[in-house]
């Protein structure tokens, strides 16, 4: 490891965390990111690369990385695992057809060595859509109860209305804080 990499790891500022937001395409990752940031969400097109936003939340600096979810792009996800404090897995709760695909992709991530120790927040998004599954149904469909390797929480939400986005983020920040910053 070279000098710059060493310095970066050493000087990671207090109260600064890195969140990696992944999920199948059309789950609403970029919409969540923009909603958080108070931006217009009417003209969002499919992400073909990645977006980064830095937000302040309750005294924490959150660096959120949102990476495109199309099938052909998922092999790039691993380039963004390094130093991730929390994985935010976004689910389109109305997309019943792809729940199995969604489950497989999530569980594949959980065995990644570089994501070991990361907090897992599952956003059961699109609760504003008629016919969307509840958080409890998503929890069963994704077999979340089998996860023993990560702290996890599932939060129902709507990126469009903004409902419960902050609840989820509060939990993530609290969980990371109790894990990392109390060690100093």
């Amino acid at each position: 490891m070279g000098l710059l990499t060493i310095l970066k790891k050493m000087k990671q500022k207090e109260k600064e965390v890195r969140l990696l937001m992944l999920g199948l395409d059309n789950a609403g990752k970029t919409t969540i990111l923009k909603k958080f940031n108070g931006e217009d969400i009417d003209t969002i097109s499919p992400t073909l690369g990645f977006n980064i936003k830095t937000l302040e939340h309750r005294g924490f600096k959150l660096n959120i990385w949102d990476v495109g979810g199309q099938k052909s792009l998922r092999s790039y996800w691993r380039n963004y695992f390094e130093s991730t404090d929390a994985l935010i897995w976004v689910v389109d709760s109305a997309d019943r057809m792809r729940l199995n695909d969604c489950k497989k992709e999530l569980h594949a991530l959980l065995v990644e060595e570089r994501l070991a120790g990361a907090t897992l927040l599952v956003f059961a998004n699109k609760q504003d859509l008629p016919g969307s599954l509840t958080a409890k149904e998503i929890r069963e469909a994704l077999d979340l109860d089998s996860i023993k390797t990560h702290h996890w929480l599932i939060q129902d939400c709507s990126a469009v209305t903004g409902d419960n986005l902050l609840n989820g983020m509060d939990w993530v920040v609290n969980d990371i804080a109790s894990r990392i910053f109390t060690m100093d």
Binding site: M1, T5, Y76
Partner: protein, 196 residues
Amino acid sequence: MSSNGNNHLQSAMDSNDDGIEDMDFSHGDHFEEEDLAMGASSKDSGFDSVIGHIEDIIMEESFQSTQNGFLEKYYTEFEDTEENKFCYTDIHKEYISLIETYLDSELKKRIPDFSMPEFSKQLQERRKELEGEIFEILLTFSDFMAFKEMLLDYKADKEGKTIDLSGGLTVMPVQEKLSLDGDSPFCVSGKSLHGP
């Protein structure tokens, strides 16, 4: 890189905890000097001298031209849009590696027995007291957003000049071409940019 790197850092930290310095005895002269000076002050001056050399190195013209060569090679890949292309990540990695290799080889030229692992250990010991512009600069090298901004600034400079030179010519075909290229998330030019 990650797991080895972490182990390395971890072992460097472990050796601090027990209060005993692991010294590199492979250089006879170095050992004599440390022994006579009884540790701390000599080690501080050694550390400070490395920092001084790093400051010199990044101020020099040859560093600037190395950096400019890199910018020149890749600036056309970058576009002033919010969304980032995957290839930016590869280009940034290559940049970090270029700067690290450059610093390492320049330090070795100036300090014959320079050892990066040893210097890293010293950095670890001083992690709470690393203040000053030089550390901000070094951290900026590995910051992705700062890197993107540098490339876009360079691109704006270059393209500003291009427009000056082409005054009176129509630039429409160029714009069309740019917008076509812009639709692709992948880089279509430049070498050594591999997908996984």
